[in-house]
Amino acid sequence: MRSAEAFAKTRAEGRAALVGYLPAGFPTLADSIKAVDIMIDHGADIIELGLPYSDPVMDGPAIQKAADRALAAGFRTRQVFEVTEAVAGRVPILVMTYWNLVERYGVDRFAGDFAAAGGAGLITPDLIPDEAGDWIAASDAHDLDRVFLVAPSSTEERIASTVAACRGFVYAQSVMGVTGARAATSAVAPELVRRTRAHTDLPIGVGLGVRSGDQAAEIGAYGDAVIVGSAIVNCYLDAEDIPSGHQKLAELTADLAAGVRR
């Protein structure tokens, strides 16, 4: 299932989509599948699977810790296709990954295997369209969404060229900083969404910092998707054991899903 289907539904319902992020292989391989099912059961419209990487320069402490834990347990790139295959079908499944892992696997091979597993597309935080020739070709060949990022520091010119390269949706990085739950969401986010909308009809997802239904409602008022990552990871980092992490995740997702429906 591609992202466009999910956005057609949420637009028809007059609300923003809820996008839940979790590193594949965290808290364990099997429990990452379970966690994705929990998110979908409790109202997530799109899933982002993180691909654990040794040098995640855009991530804050929570996601770093989760990725480290998955890698320490022996996570391999190819396992992201297993997770994708296990959860695909109900909502679009995207993979968010640092570029070296895809390049190492083989860009076209990665795209082919991911499409075969039922994946929708990739979000590439350290790949700008300027460097993405191979990925643009592979995503065309395998009919995958490609989601690039725009940031508060992006010029009009760069926003225009970035959204022109996107398919599925555009990822608006709402704060200048790494991923991590924040008490207050960014004041620059609405402005970035406004500037981005002037250049595209694609849905615009807003990420970085969301941790509550109230924040989700606030962002859902101007963004087309509310992206939640660190707060989801924290359900497990803060929990005594994995079952109570699942419980926290169910509650958090329900709160966020209610938020985007306000």
Partner: protein, 403 residues
Amino acid sequence: MPNPDASGHWGEFGGRFVPEALIAALDELEKAHTEALADPAFTAELDQLGREYGNLPSPLYFAERLSAEAGVEVWLKREDLNHTGAHKIRNVLGQALLTRRMGKNRIIAETGAGQHGVAAATAAAYFGMECTVYMGEEDTRRQALNVARMRLLGAEVVPVTTGSRTLKDAMNEALREWVASVDTTHYLIGSVGGPHPFPQLVRDYCRGIGDEARAQFLDRTGVLPDVVAACVGGGSNAMGIFTAFLDDEDVRLFGFEAGGDGYDTGRHAATITAGQIGVLHGARTFVLQDEDGQTIESHSISAGLDYPGVGPEHAHLAATGRAAYEPVDDAEAMAALEKLARTEGIICAIESAHGLAGALRLAKSLQPGSRVLVNLSGRGDKDMGNVVEYYGFADAPDESGDQ
């Protein structure tokens, strides 16, 4: 000048593999650097600063007794005599002056053993700038003296507790911090790596090494050297000395990487020798990585060479064959360090000893009397702890009563 293409690529290497959030700052930096180099007032100030503060130009020294043993002429570019003890002062003075020109008043830096951190803190003190240095927690313990130096110079030292807690993780943390503070802060990167324009920019500030050495060599001998050799970690001192000679086709360029316990053991930092292309810290280059592309920890007795990537211009020089890169293991480097100390009375940095060791190995295959120029990139004061540990000099307590 052999610059990369407009988007920062040397052949297939280099480029910008960073979050979009940093692109505007990289564009600004590229523009500011280009304008600065074309501004006579900027270059004059940098030259004066180098002379009066950095102790530049560094001397070219003919190592007579070492040459007699090696069977070739060994010439040393004495970067060890620079202020703060290494070529790194060139990079930090250039970037700090550029920082001021861009209207920023804060610098951040990553450091492994602390040499770049000390240099960055020095430049920050000189210019009255705020300075934060990211350093792997593991390294802050092993290099407590350099941590003290940085703090004395007024810098804040932040121990990095993520990942492997070494240089690569310090670099990750500096990049993260830079995304959040890019309006007011310059990332004063320590080597010729990272996203465009950093590799070109750092090279431009370090290239004085080779520009000076080439002129000094011609002045002293009337000819150019047959071989130019340098150690390569990230590769700033090597690019610094290579650049002036790139168009001199008869001058052979050699970069010596850290072979650690021995290249065949797998415990090394010989990134180019290992030959795996990947993306790390914003550039496509050679990277020590596993089958999946996860970065592998490097190993070397020399903290300054202990890095799993290498500057993209070196990757290009290796791929095109303009420069050759070979590993030198810990034992060879320490033997060269000792030989230089005993023949010339110069204690060089363990990093630089890799370059010297490679040159001495190469000398055996050269015509007698060949002229070999080695970049002696730093002095060894900082390494005495390692030397003591390696040779066991301190094993026997001094019971003679002499003070």
